[in-house]
Structures are given as structure tokens and as C-alpha cells.
Symmetry: C2
Subunit: 218 residues, 2 copies
DNA sequence: TTTAGATTGTGAATGATGTAACATTTCCGT
DNA sequence: ACGGAAATGTTACATCATTCACAATCTAAA
């Protein structure tokens, strides 16, 4: 769609939602302007990196002044497609799935969990956090118009479900399962492996200098 | 402690727990040997990257043969300090916190959630997933021997709790809060921002070529 | 209107990560 | 015991990301 955007580094793209949220905060607080230095302290990203990130979108600020909060906000809203909602399905209403359903991702967000699926009869027909739960056997019937799936099923079920999601034409999967699923190259998968995150943190603590470190981020 | 380890790239360190888990699987399946190519297909990491990662630890494999699963396993167990358990506290027994407590991170893991804290009187004294819940006012009394904290409190409470954790001599924090907390450089914080992850996935879907892409990983 | 001070946007330096390619070594069947 | 097949470990390169440092530009106050 946007010609320019194809050139934005992935690392930058991953920071955009973060910037958006903090700019939103500033706006609610009635702040009129902000410098890259201030933002830097809030989001814990080097100020030069922030300026560089913003610069991919052209000159958003004014030299000697900083950035106009209102303008930044409207810019990010547009860029992150806040207006156009992405429909999401959640598969596996267990511990983690229930937490996600109860959490309203819609705050500050352009995504909405529209429907959930589970294999256990107990929960079918209920709603959790306002989201209706259907039986997994009915996946194909209800998945229409959904482009992203959150996978919170047991690891053994992950690949099978993924295959069905692919057939049902899903575009992206957020996989919380420890299983690394295989999908065609037309589908994007992000793995979030919480056990690995915890273990990695512990590894860093044990093996990296504890003191003269940056205070943040992997 | 280990002199060598200081040189291991962070990207590699983050993959180690992943390798460990899959090698563990292979071992349970009775597999005796594995090549970087096989491993690559399982964990979705380029085989050259795997060989490079392993090579930081010396020559773990044999040319023309591959890697001995048993040996790899014992090596990783040692390297990831599987034997020595790291004690973890969880702060904020809400939706997300409850999911984590019910989930047994101890599988394949050198970490154990020993204790949880919450501000709401309702849950104090209960146990969730075998973990006792104490009142947050008693944080300082019970945090002895705990080196890592998982933060799943509301965003507004995050910085305050973080300050107390720092005073109580915590070494690492896994922060699920959208707030970016400030801590001294002696404390390591990893942010896991689930809303950002979802939004970033959506952004990639909308703005990046959908087809000729690697099929995995950010 | 002038000037001191602030802050951007970016070229260039540095650092980190990923991967192609291959010489080298080991395995293993004959 | 030998030779081809297999797979490592690593060199060299390519790519991506971060950060420094500063000229250019703007603000705001006197
Ligand atoms: N809970 C955590 O803290 C945590 C942490 C790290 C990783 N994970 C991973 O996240 C996933 C979910 O964890 P959880 O704790 O919520 O597990 P859970 O067992 O509580 O939930 C799994 C849910 O999936 C449903 N299910 C099973 N098979 C299904 C199928 N074929 N189709 C649809 N639904 C199916 C079950 O009925 C259950 O409700 C697991 O893969 C787990 O390894 C969880
Ligand atoms: N649930 C999700 O899916 C999800 C997704 C993304 C981010 N998050 C973030 O994770 C955090 C927790 O989310 P949640 O859905 O579990 O919220 P929640 O409201 O269900 O749970 C928060 C818990 O923290 C407790 N608490 C409040 N103040 C406290 C204090 N000062 N000390 C100790 N405990 C305190 C509350 O009693 C409650 O039990 C939030 O910051 C949220 O933004 C959650």
C-alpha cells in the first residue's frame, strides 16, 4: 500500500507501537511538545535511535524545538492503521488464553479478539471477556474475516491447528506454544516463548557483568 | 564466573534455552545423534547459525557425524545451570499472573516460582499452582533468597514495586507491564510487551511483502 | 531584532547478527 | 584398510542496527 513503508527497518517497526503508546500518554497529560531526549527517558530507547526511527517517515519534528505531541499522535495513528481494526481469533482457552481474553487488547490498539476456540466442551458457548467461545471443530465456519490467530493450545496440538489455520487463509500467527510450527512462506509467525524468556534472563544474570550495563532491553 | 562466556553474543544466548529444549526432546525420543540440519528444521534457525552458536562453546560436534545428543544435553544442562535452581517471585496475581502460576515453568527449567504477592485481600493466604500468595506489604519479609521477579501488576503500580524490589536486592525483572521501569544498572530488566507484539505482527502483515519471506521469526 | 541555547536530521563510524561457502575431518560400508 | 559421503567449524562477506557527533535550523527571550 504505502510505497515508503517497505523500507522501514524491522527493528524500527517493532518500536512504533511503543512510541505510539507513550505519545498517547503525553497527549492525555496535556503535554504540547516533547524532545527525543525526554521520550528516550520514558521508553528507554536511545534518543538518536528515536530520531533516526522518526526520520524514516520524513521530518516530523522541528530543530531546536522538538516534536509537537498532537501532530506526532495523529501521524502515528494514521501510520499504525489505528482506524482499521484487525480481527483476531484465539485458539485454546486455557490459563493463558483466558488471561488474554480478559485483557482488553483494544485499548490503544487496532486489534480485536473477535472469537475464541477450544476443544473442551466445558467452555463452549460461554463468553470470556465478551468473546464467544466456539468448538474447535467449527473453526472453519467461524474464521471468516479473521486475519490473525493467537495460539495458546498445548504444544502437541499446535502444528495441527496451524495447518488448519493456513488452509483457512490466516495471514499471521502469534504462537505462545513452545512448538516451532511450520507454515508456508505466505504466513507470518511470531513466536513468543515465555519459558525461554525467563531462562534467557536467568542466563544473562549468571553470565554477564552485573554492573556496568545498559539498564534495559535484551 | 566462566571467563569464556562473557563473549557469547546475546542473540546466541537467547537461543540456548530453545536448543536445550529440543535436544531434551530428542533425548527422550531415544535419538543418539543429530545434525545441525535436522536441528535447524526443528527449531527454525539456520543450520549455519546453529553451528556458529555451538562453536562459541568449543567443538561440540564431530565432522562428518554431527552431534552426540547425550553429550550435547549434558553440556547444555551444565551451561544453562540446570542443576542450580533460580528462585523467582511473581508480583500481581491477576489474569496473567494466575496463568503463570498455574503453568509449571519448572519443566525443562532451572527456575521455580517460590512465592507470589498481591494487593487484593481476596487471594492472600491461598495458593495457586502450589505457590503461596502473600500480601504485597510483606514483600520485604518474604523475598529473601529470591533473585528474579516477574511483574504482572497494573502499569501504574510497576515503578513503585520495582523500586522496592531493587531495595530488596533483586537481580532481574521480567516485566509484563506496559510501563518501562527505571532501575539501577546493576539490575537487569527484560520487557515483554504483549500488546506491542500483537501490534507489531499486524504492522508487519500490512506493510511487508506477504510472500517471498522467511517463514519465521521477527 | 539579535543572539544564546536547544534540538533536529543525518553522514559516517562502529557494532552485532546472519549466512554462504568450503577445506577439513570423521564416519562407515565394502 | 580405503575412499566416498557427510557434516563440522570457521573464514569471509553481507546485512542490519545503533550510536556519535555536528551542521543546520528553529525558538524564545531580551
Ligand atoms: N500458562 C503459561 O504461563 C504458559 C507459559 C509458557 C508457555 N505456555 C504455553 O502456552 C500454551 C497454553 O498454555 P496454558 O497454560 O494456557 O495451557 P492450558 O492447558 O491451560 O490451556 C490449553 C487449552 O487448549 C485447549 N485445547 C487443547 N487441545 C486443543 C485443540 N486441539 N484445539 C483447541 N483447543 C485445544 C484446552 O482445552 C485448554 O483449554 C501451552 O502450549 C504452553 O506450553 C503457557
Ligand atoms: N492479561 C493480559 O493478557 C495482558 C496482556 C498485555 C499486558 N498485560 C499487562 O500485564 C499486567 C497484568 O495484567 P492482568 O490482566 O493480569 O491484570 P489484572 O488486573 O488481572 O491483575 C493485576 C493484579 O495485580 C494486583 N495488584 C494491583 N496493585 C498491586 C500492587 N501494588 N502490588 C501487588 N499487586 C497489585 C491486583 O490485585 C491484581 O490481582 C498489566 O500491567 C497489563 O497491562 C496483560
Amino acid at each position: 500500500m504505502d510505497i515508503e513503508n517497505a523500507k522501514i527497518p524491522q527493528a524500527t517497526a517493532k518500536r512504533l507501537p511503543l512510541y505510539y503508546r507513550f505519545i498517547n500518554n503525553l497527549h492525555s497529560q496535556g503535554k504540547m511538545r516533547v524532545s527525543s531526549k525526554e521520550l528516550s527517558e520514558a521508553v528507554k530507547v536511545d534518543s538518536a535511535t528515536i530520531r533516526r526511527d522518526f526520520s524514516y517517515f520524513g521530518a516530523l519534528g522541528k530543530k531546536g524545538y522538538g516534536y509537537n505531541v498532537e501532530y506526532l499522535l495523529s501521524f502515528f495513528r494514521k501510520t499504525l492503521d489505528q482506524d482499521e481494526t484487525t480481527n483476531v481469533a484465539l485458539i485454546g482457552v486455557g490459563n493463558l488464553g483466558t488471561a488474554f481474553l480478559n485483557y482488553n487488547f483494544t485499548k490503544n490498539n487496532n486489534t480485536k479478539i473477535q472469537i475464541a476456540f477450544d476443544a473442551s466442551d466445558d467452555r463452549i458457548g460461554d463468553t470470556v471477556g465478551g468473546v464467544p467461545i466456539k468448538h474447535i471443530d467449527e473453526l472453519e465456519e467461524y474464521i471468516d474475516g479473521i486475519s490473525v490467530a493467537i495460539l495458546t493450545v498445548p504444544a502437541q496440538a499446535a502444528q495441527g491447528i496451524a495447518d488448519r489455520l493456513v488452509k483457512a487463509n490466516i495471514s499471521g500467527v502469534l504462537n505462545f506454544t513452545p512448538a516451532r510450527i511450520t507454515v508456508p512462506s505466505s504466513v507470518r509467525v511470531h513466536h513468543i516463548d515465555l519459558a525461554v524468556e525467563l531462562q534467557a534472563l536467568v542466563y544473562f544474570l549468571k553470565h554477564y557483568p552485573l554492573d556496568g550495563e545498559l539498564e534495559d532491553e535484551l
